[in-house]
């Protein structure tokens, strides 16, 4: 595949691995968080960590949209399908996330809920068009990448005069989550989570640009390198971060210059702000309530807001006590530090959300990398 294989070239990777090994100071350790699940997935799927020296450790961040979705939000979607009898359209990842009462959207579907997997928000609009007698709700999740398509769907529904389409908006914001991690006592006060820099999001940054990260670099003295989702992008970003750390710099650098500009996609930003506004607070799995970290639909578009159209109040549901997803999402623990990882909690029967999506830290480690833990034990 042209323009993709070039970024997965094994020979170039070898060269970069040598450059990283030379740049890394053997006297110190480097801890970098890749914020995005897309990076987590690429690192695990291509075995990137095998090409990094042992003193460079990657910490998986909370940038997996499915993983940070709190149980209460899935419960709302399930109630919409089972109690309000709507046709619920959702992205595939969300189907298997465990919710209350042993349910998930997939299980709710088996119980008779009309739950359909869609590939884009536009498909949900088409379903609403084709089924005028049904109420159709699009379960909108994700970071800034998936927000503009939801905005487009709402605009489309408005233009078509659809009275049976609405959106359960659960869109969240990347910068708020990064701030939350950097301000957490583990990083700032106690220093129990060493964090030397961030690999910044790829797709999110194409929308919001690189400017929003400048604050983190300056305020928290952490280097940020925005990188694409291909494995060579990740390696290049690691090299750039090591150099910044070595030189005592903390600035935003853009490795993903083929798609990301400083200002981002202004058109998409304007569309999003036309339709959405900030929520005062939103619950994240792992990070709890985070102020101004999510979006809701503006009053002007209230008729498309499922939370206003249907009576489904939000209820916080605590995670399973043994599940360490919260700590894992903040970088405090690794998947293999969780007692139920790979025993009670597996991709077939996920207890926590990190085990669900292939972008989740636990699922990625279980599916692609768990043989490494065992090798360490048996040696």
């Amino acid at each position: 595949m042209k323009y993709i294989d070039e970024f997965r070239d094994g020979e170039l990777a070898k060269g970069l691995a040598v450059a990283i090994a030379q740049a890394a100071d053997p006297a110190r350790r480097y801890h970098f968080m890749e914020f995005c699940g897309g990076h987590t997935h690429a690192i695990s799927r291509y075995g990137v960590t095998d090409l990094l020296p042992p003193n460079v450790r990657m910490i998986h961040g909370p940038g997996c949209p499915v993983c940070v979705l709190p149980i209460g939000r899935i419960d709302m979607a399930i109630r919409l399908a089972l109690e309000a009898g709507v046709t619920l359209c959702t992205y595939g990842d969300t189907l298997r996330v465990p919710a209350s009462d042993g349910l998930s959207l997939l299980k709710a579907k088996a119980r008779g809920g009309d739950i359909r997997m869609v590939y884009s928000s536009a498909d949900a609009v088409s379903i609403a068009q084709q089924n005028p007698e049904k109420q159709v709700v699009f379960f909108a999740i994700g970071f800034e990448t998936t927000t503009p398509p939801t905005a487009v769907a709402i605009k489309q529904a408005q233009a078509l005069g659809l009275k049976n389409f609405s959106v359960l908006c659960c869109h969240v914001l990347t910068p708020a989550a990064i701030t939350n991690i950097l301000e957490s006592p583990e990083v700032r006060q106690w220093g129990t989570v060493p964090l030397d820099g961030f690999i910044g999001p790829a797709h999110v940054s194409t929308v919001i640009g690189s400017r929003p990260y400048e604050f983190f670099a300056e305020e928290f003295r952490k280097p940020v390198v925005i990188a694409g989702f291909e494995p060579l992008d990740v390696m290049q970003a690691v090299l750039m971060l090591i150099k910044q750390v070595n030189e005592g710099r903390a600035v935003v650098e853009n490795e993903f210059s083929r798609a990301v500009t400083r200002d981002g996609n202004i058109k998409a930003q304007n569309l999003v702000s036309e339709i959405f506004e900030l929520r005062q607070s939103f619950e994240w799995r792992g990070l709890n309530e985070v102020p101004y970290s999510a979006l809701r639909i503006r009053k002007e578009f209230a008729e498309f807001d499922a939370e206003r159209r249907f009576d489904i109040p939000y209820k916080t549901v605590p995670d399973n006590k043994a599940c360490e997803c919260g700590a894992i999402l903040r970088g405090v623990k690794r998947p293999q530090d969780c007692k139920i990882f790979g025993t009670v909690c597996t991709p077939e029967n996920p207890v926590g959300s990190c085990m669900v999506s292939s972008e989740g830290a636990c699922a990625a480690h279980y599916t692609f990398g768990r043989f490494k833990d065992i090798a360490v034990v048996s040696e």
Binding site: G10, H41, Y46, G47, G92, D123, G142, F371
Partner: protein
């Protein structure tokens, strides 16, 4: 004795007619459907016996039996349809046991309202596939369910074959050091179906690989190579099949990503949807695990057969107490190639 005049029977309307409940009731309508459609296309001496079962001669050897239900949607797809697929699927299940497939039985569950024209196309396709493979459909059954209780048509085929004494292709025979060969490009069937499904709304020129593999397998057996395991990687793809073999045999495996044959359009469609071709279904490919010293002979034999032109060695069997199937990625790292979890779901970001 007065001669009874034969009543006029209006022939089946194969252009505009539909399956209705009477076609499954056991009465005249069903007899007519069988006669004018099934018997006409599938006709052979055993089916012509017209009994509830068929009586056939059996060559010496041990009996192998396999069954496979087909519920594919859409019913027609580039490269095939549910009809030929149902013939190929069961023939392959028998053939990978090292057996010569002999006879097939077919059970149809038809949905009320299903166009007879489509049914005729499917039966013709089955007849063609069975004839090409030299494996007759000797008996069958038809049921009709009410509209909304089926999905057009479901077909179950059962087959029997014979395997000579001494031939043993169990999945438990993979040994450390063995080589793993795949008979061609992977993921074609699954992606052909995916691309056709309405909700995707994109059209890639991907053609299903559905084919009967017993000819290729016969050539492989004749080569004299010490084949330890044969499997057709259908649902769950190559990854799932290799994990099954690894567990059955109590071994691990190491694959080379760079050696996996994947058609560029399949790779692109997988990339687009966030899928992995290793987990996508095949219907005309096989995996062979062979003793290292016979690998070259077997590979050459397979590559000389029209259904194995792109055969390649994709990995080796190794000792591993955890039965992991691992892979050296094209990028130079290592990863597990795990069992498929649930359904392969696309990633969103």
């Amino acid at each position: 004795m007065t001669e009874i005049r034969k009543g006029y029977v209006r022939p089946l309307d194969l252009k505009h007619g539909c399956v209705d409940m009477s076609h499954g009731s056991g009465g005249r309508a069903m007899a007519q459907l069988i006669e004018e459609l099934f018997a006409k296309h599938l006709g052979n001496e055993y089916l012509a016996q017209g009994n509830d079962g068929a009586v056939m001669p059996m060559p010496p050897g041990r009996l192998v039996m396999a069954t496979d239900s087909h519920v594919v949607s859409p019913l027609f797809f580039p490269g095939g349809d549910i009809g030929c697929l149902s013939v190929h699927g069961t023939i392959n299940d028998i053939a990978v046991m090292g057996a010569t497939p002999l006879y097939l039985a077919a059970g149809f569950i038809l949905e009320e309202g299903f166009p007879l024209a489509d049914l005729a196309r499917l039966v013709e396709s089955m007849a063609h596939a069975a004839k090409e493979a030299g494996v007759p459909i000797v008996t069958g059954d038809t049921k009709v369910v009410e509209a909304g209780k089926g999905d057009g048509v479901f077909i179950t085929t059962t087959g029997v074959g014979v395997v000579a004494d001494g031939e043993d292709f169990s999945g438990a025979r993979a040994r450390p050091g063995d080589r793993i060969i795949v008979s061609g490009s992977i993921g074609d069937h699954g992606m052909a179906i995916m691309a056709q499904r309405e909700s995707l709304g994109f059209s890639a020129p991907i053609v299903s690989d559905t084919a009967a593999l017993h000819g290729l397998i016969a050539a492989m057996r004749k080569s004299g190579a010490a084949i330890h395991v044969l499997r057709d990687p259908t649902r769950g793809g190559v990854a799932t099949t290799l994990n099954e073999i690894a567990r059955q045999s109590g071994v691990g495996m190491m694959l080379q990503e760079a050696a996996l044959p994947v058609n560029p359009e399949v790779a692109a469609a997988c990339e687009f949807l966030g899928l992995d071709p290793l987990y996508v279904a095949n219907e005309g490919k096989l995996l062979a695990i062979v003793a290292a010293q016979d690998c070259a002979v077997l590979l050459a034999t397979m590559q000389a057969h029209p259904l194995g032109l792109r055969s390649s060695v994709i990995g080796t069997v190794q000792e591993d107490p955890h039965y992991f199937v691992q892979m050296t990625t094209g990028f130079g790292g290592r990863r597990i190639v795990d069992w498929l979890t649930g359904e392969q779901l696309p990633r969103i970001c």
